[in-house]
Amino acid sequence: MNRHFGARRALGIAVASALAVAVTGCGGGDDAGRSGDAAEGAPSPGITDTSVTLGITTPLSGSTAGPGTCTVAGVTAYFGMKNAEGGVEFGDGKTRTVEIEALDDGYDPQQAKANYDQLKDDVFAMTAGLGTPTNRAWRDAAIADEVPQALIMTGDPLFSDTEESPWQLGFVPVYQNEGEAFGELLAASGEDHKVAILSQNDDYGAGYVEGFKSAVEDADNIEIVDELTYEATDTSVDAQITELAASNADVIFNAMSLVPLVVSALQKAQQLNWKPSWFLPSNTSSPGAVLEPGGGAAFPGIYSVSFAKAPASPAFAQDEDVVAYLAALKQYGDYPDPPAFPHCQWSWMVGATLEQAFQNMEEPTRDSFMEALRSIEGFQAPLMLPDTAVDTTQDGQPAVSSVVVQKYNGRGYDTVEAFE
């Protein structure tokens, strides 16, 4: 039986390795990624004279599949449109088409690392992937391999720290940017406000609160009357809302990342007949998914921040950018429905920002790309709201760090200049 078993084991191992080799396509003897020091000026992997390939690892299945699918659709649509026009002209004078290779990581860091390992020798740069843990999982590896991890969708400030992350750059505003924008608006109102703070007890909530506090630090008219936290795993914040209601604050700064909790918080406040003005983060302030079920119209004001035009808003229905974007998304992005998540718009802007970098890179190398990527200033990407712009030159800031505060108007959001 032992012998029998031993043979089976050998067979099993043989089958496993055969499978491994088959699935991985037998990479061959190309070890360019291993050494990392190709000849000076020689083209990096994933770029030829006629095309360049970009890699994405993002959740396309599981609970974050909705926004994840958007992160692929937007940039794919953008370059699909550009390719149909003939391609993108690069800084070295050649015109290349841009191909996207996207893999699903299901929001699993392990799978994200596996996807990166699979892509790194075939793609010129990684981009647009969604998620903090899934991007952190291969951040160190990307630095060691000198593979750009450019314009990714996470508010984690680590990716925008040039010293710590020389091959990375975040795209969306970090949490601090959002909190700060609202704090500045409130401080500039000139009236006295009592603020209650409720935040998620992790880096997400802390980032928002840090940004907000830094903005109202020197404002005499702002008083923080109560500050509570909740855990991301909590199923109810009724107790916190009740306690905050007793503080008689007229503004609540609610740094919450979970949609159902925001809805129940809005409802609980109404039950208690507490009607403050709300601040909500950009990812939990959707009119359809949050404010309508939560009865947002009952409050004097609900504020959030944004930097992208909302394609569903009637105000932008005839907007040139929006029309072109929606058409391309349908035609090239494999996304026939109206975009349900802002990530689609962000991803489209990532495409436009990458195009800027491509136009400025003088050599077909990853080094030259990173240099070009880090020198974009005052670029108004399509779909961007007035007063926001891409600026990659500031250390410690993501590509987009400027946001505008918006107020809920019962259907969608309008940009506001002052707190009312």
């Binding site: 099993g12 191992i13 699903d104 596996a114 951040r139």
Partner: protein, 367 residues
């Protein structure tokens, strides 16, 4: 038409089994395996090495699950928790620059102790109740990892890059990491193989088969359940250490409940109560997402579900039962013709007489 190849196959298999009986073959085959495994990392491309290393990590995790579920018959849905604990201990130790040997020992011991404590309580419960207790582990583990942010880095997780190839070895990082996985993983597989074939393995099998019989034979079901669970946790800890060697990053997502179920599915697909099955389970866990990603990245979950169902319909005993299913099919076609029965009968007694594994494997499907 069909008889010619089947005849040839049965004669070749009989000559193969006589070849296997020679002592030098019994020694040479494992030796050859070791040589192949030693050379493999040097000749394979980087991505193949990384994939093999990842398979090794999850094969060890599945092996641990197999000890408690496949061999001792106790449903555990918490294996990923022990992998997570092992990974966190490793990451914490490496970040604080502890000696790597100490880190490894702790990465084994801490999950083992955690497993022991859980098992002391859980093993008192019978049947599926133990499954309910073990469900709690990943469900508690994720928020715990988020709250203990001082040690775990909170939801941002911990990065630890410590398995770089030493200077002067001339190896690339991926080769070095694969060697670490091969050595540690291989040792764990070997030790587990000895464990389940010896006294303890037989005791596990009796506890799994019938606890009353076990008690009447002087085998305490409680003690052996606790033992199996503790060993499974320890092996889970080892896989957590290897996880950090290969993936170099851990976050609360690592031990999310879904992965625990995926590990379970991998074990059943590989083959319960089988050492090779654990290896195949690990390969399944790693390769299927890669495969489905290449087919269509937006349909991965659906395709994985289809593959899972197909394997379970075609091979209820898991992938490890594939050779046996093939020989059985061959034997059946031989019996129909009334020929070649004599050549296959020795192997049939070999398969059903001494192997206690096959019926268990099939029963596992219903558990």
């Amino acid at each position: 038409m069909a008889s010619a190849p089947s005849n040839r196959a049965s004669t070749s298999s009989s000559s193969l089994s006589s070849l296997r009986q020679r002592p030098w073959v019994r020694w040479a085959a494992p030796l050859l395996l070791v040589v192949v495994l030693a050379v493999l990392p040097l000749v394979m491309s980087e991505f193949v090495n990384e994939t093999l290393a990842r398979i090794g990590v999850f094969a060890v995790a599945v092996l641990g699950l197999n000890v408690v579920m496949g061999y001792a018959g106790q449903v555990s849905l918490g294996q990923i928790f022990f992998l997570g604990v092992g990974a966190y201990v490793t990451a914490y130790g490496v970040t604080n620059e502890w000696n790597i040997v100490l880190v490894f020992v702790l990465a084994c011991l801490v999950p083992a102790v955690a497993g022991l404590v859980v098992a002391l309580a859980a093993a008192r419960l019978g049947g599926l109740a133990i499954a309910m207790v073990t469900i709690a582990l990943p469900i508690v583990g994720v928020p715990l990892a988020k709250r203990l942010s001082e040690y775990t880095g909170g939801s941002q997780g911990l990065s630890a890059r410590f398995a770089e190839a030493p200077e002067g070895s001339g190896l690339f990082d991926d080769q070095w990491q694969l060697y670490i996985v091969l050595v540690i993983g291989g040792t764990v597989f070997l030790l587990t193989r000895f464990l389940v074939r010896g006294k303890y393995g037989r005791a596990f099998a009796i506890v799994k088969g019938n606890e009353n019989v076990a008690s009447s034979m002087g085998i305490s079901p409680y003690r052996y359940k606790v033992l199996a669970f503790t060993i499974a946790s320890l092996i889970g800890g080892v896989s957590g250490f290897l996880y950090m060697v290969v993936i170099q990053y851990t976050s609360p997502e690592t031990m999310s409940f879904g992965h625990s179920i995926e590990l379970l599915a991998a074990m059943v697909i590989g083959g319960a109560a089988s050492i090779v099955g654990s290896l195949l389970g690990g390969a399944f866990y790693v390769l299927v997402p890669q495969l489905t990603n290449q087919v269509d990245a937006s349909l991965t979950t659906l395709l994985q579900g289809v593959i899972l169902l197909v394997v379970l319909f075609v091979l209820p005993g898991g992938l490890a039962s594939l050779p046996r299913a093939l020989t059985r099919g061959r034997r059946r076609s031989g019996a129909e013709r009334g020929a070649a029965a004599s050549t296959t009968s020795p192997s049939s007694t070999l398969g059903s007489g001494t192997s206690a594994e096959e019926p268990e494997t099939e029963r596992q499907g219903h558990a």
